[in-house]
Symmetry: C2
Amino acid sequence: MKDPIEAFRKFLADKNQKLTPQRQVVLRIFMDRHDHMTPEELHQLGREMDPGLGLATVYRTLKLLEEAGLARELRLGDGVARYEYDFGREHHDHIICTACKRNIEVLDPRIETLQEALARRHGFELTGHKMILYGLCQACREDGE
Amino acid sequence: MKDPIEAFRKFLADKNQKLTPQRQVVLRIFMDRHDHMTPEELHQLGREMDPGLGLATVYRTLKLLEEAGLARELRLGDGVARYEYDFGREHHDHIICTACKRNIEVLDPRIETLQEALARRHGFELTGHKMILYGLCQACREDGE
DNA sequence: GTGCCTGCAAATTTTTTGCACGTCG
DNA sequence: CGACGTGCAAAAAATTTGCAGGCAC
């Protein structure tokens, strides 16, 4: 399966639900802009394509996209939920600069392996994880000096 | 510094603030019960010692305890914030069972080391991290079969 | 028609803030 | 007095829910 739209349609069909225009709009935004976006931001962007789009629908669709494995919820520490597109992408975690809030995506396969082992050692079968590193980026370290 | 109460007093004094009875109550609860607690739960418990204690004060105190490094905010995936006591304890992360919600504390020094290296490789100076593993515990796996 | 979907507004939930009063040096 | 601290209630922010109407089989 390489088409996210078809993947979403299939996911919905399996639950007797439909890929409505509104749901497509939200998915399309993710496909166009691979950003981290809050529901509010998605709603704004969505209204450009469908002015009647309701915020509640965005929330409802985000839940569905998450269940479908097409989007991932991200909490970077401020109280706001963000979502990122997660289709056909390699898994990754995040580092966020505590000063300028800039964040980048990172991955270390050795950490992933150790997480797996750590869980197993405690009798768990690992199904997922969230890891966020906090630090100071180079620019902010230099500013601080 | 081995007395959390004195540590908190000192932290507050450095900001020209005081260790009031209310603040002590919240800290004491943490010292007595090393649980993960929501602000609401802490408020309930706090009222047993000081019936007039306000929820807003609990929130304000939690912020202070966190700044002081005596408590740590924990978000396990439901919308609720939890806090855990974090004085004189070794750092640890968490695994939570997605079925029964039970969670345990875990630590792998090798992961910690790799996180440090990973951050540095991206130009960051690591100051902290949050890692939560999600999985199925043994009991729930057996139930599921 | 039946069941899924939607937008809207109202309701919930979680957290923060404004304010008047109290306290302590 | 002056700064800090508190409880309360109101406010704010984020998310969920109820509902009447609409659409597609």
